[in-house]
């Protein structure tokens, strides 16, 4: 990817993000968004992020796309701990520990 392309992406995402953040603050007095729009917007993050990450978990680039036990186990533990504790940093820590522990164990047997 060329330098110019990278800068284009940074500037475009930057401007777009600002417009999203400023939108309603900017046009004061404009009518509230209709309820059905807000209802869809509520699920944007949970609709994008899991789909983005699922292929990375199942077909990791580091193994050339072959499913890999340490990475899969780390993913399950990270989501599980995050769901149960609602603690992002705790979930990251638990996932990292799982990844290294299973990498080490599978390294021993292999």
């Amino acid at each position: 990817m060329s330098d110019a392309t990278i800068w284009t992406i940074i500037v475009a995402v930057g401007i777009g993000t600002f417009l999203l953040r400023f939108s309603f603050l900017g046009v004061l007095g404009a009518a509230r968004l209709p309820d059905w729009v807000l209802r869809h917007l509520r699920y944007t993050a949970v609709a994008v992020l899991p789909g983005l990450v699922a292929p990375l978990v199942l077909w990791p680039a580091a193994t050339g796309g072959t499913p890999d036990l340490p990475r899969f186990a780390a993913a399950v533990v990270t989501v599980g701990v995050g769901y149960l504790t609602r603690n992002v940093i705790g979930a990251m820590g638990a996932g990292a520990i799982t990844l290294y522990a299973v990498l080490w164990l599978t390294g021993l047997s292999g």
């Binding site: 940074i10 953040r21 869809h40 992020l49 899991p50 580091a62």
Partner: protein
Amino acid sequence: MARTKPKNTYYLGLRDGLPFLLVTGPFGLLFGVVAAEAGLTTPQALAFSTVVFAGAAQFAALQLMVENAPVLIIVATALAVNLRMAMYSAWLAPWLGAAPLWQRALAGYLNVDQSFACSAMRFEQYPDWTVSQRLGFFFGVVTPIAPFWVAMTALGLWLGEGIPDWLALDFALPICFLAMIGPMMRTLAHLAAAFTSVVLALVLAGVPYNLGLLVAALVAMMVGAQVELWQARRVQT
């Protein structure tokens, strides 16, 4: 309720924002590391963190850049991740709408998960705050967070080169996202949306230009909205 001076609301905001440094720090550091791995130059990575200033969208864009997706798809996906901020903006408008344009523009730039979450809590708790008191609080929350985010990106860039392979940093980014997803699963509707997103993204993985992810996300949003409606109806009857 006691009167609070604008200056005091600024310090209250500072205090409310401080705990978020624990999340911002590692996340920013990781962005720097991953950006260095992806081959971004230092000015590019720092511009990313200052101009875009949105962790999840930055990671999403970076991932698609590594996969060499078309520019339009990268921008659309990153903006889809940030769509929720339009919702924050809609929520903030009645509280901050009377402020001068330049202050609203600055608040727009700094309208992030943390400033929204803290404001959502305090503005309703202290409804008699003036607009300038609310802005003071809002800017207080982001005062430590914004510079720290950029500084940690820089530190990550600097460390990036020296990180050995056995650390398996290829998986740092998935773990970051996965750690954010768990706490988002607040209702059945969130779970249904996430599940739809995963299944469709995997099924549509072969679709060119990473269009599969956008389709998966759109359908998942609709599923979330429908499940929410269905649950609301069930509660009523």
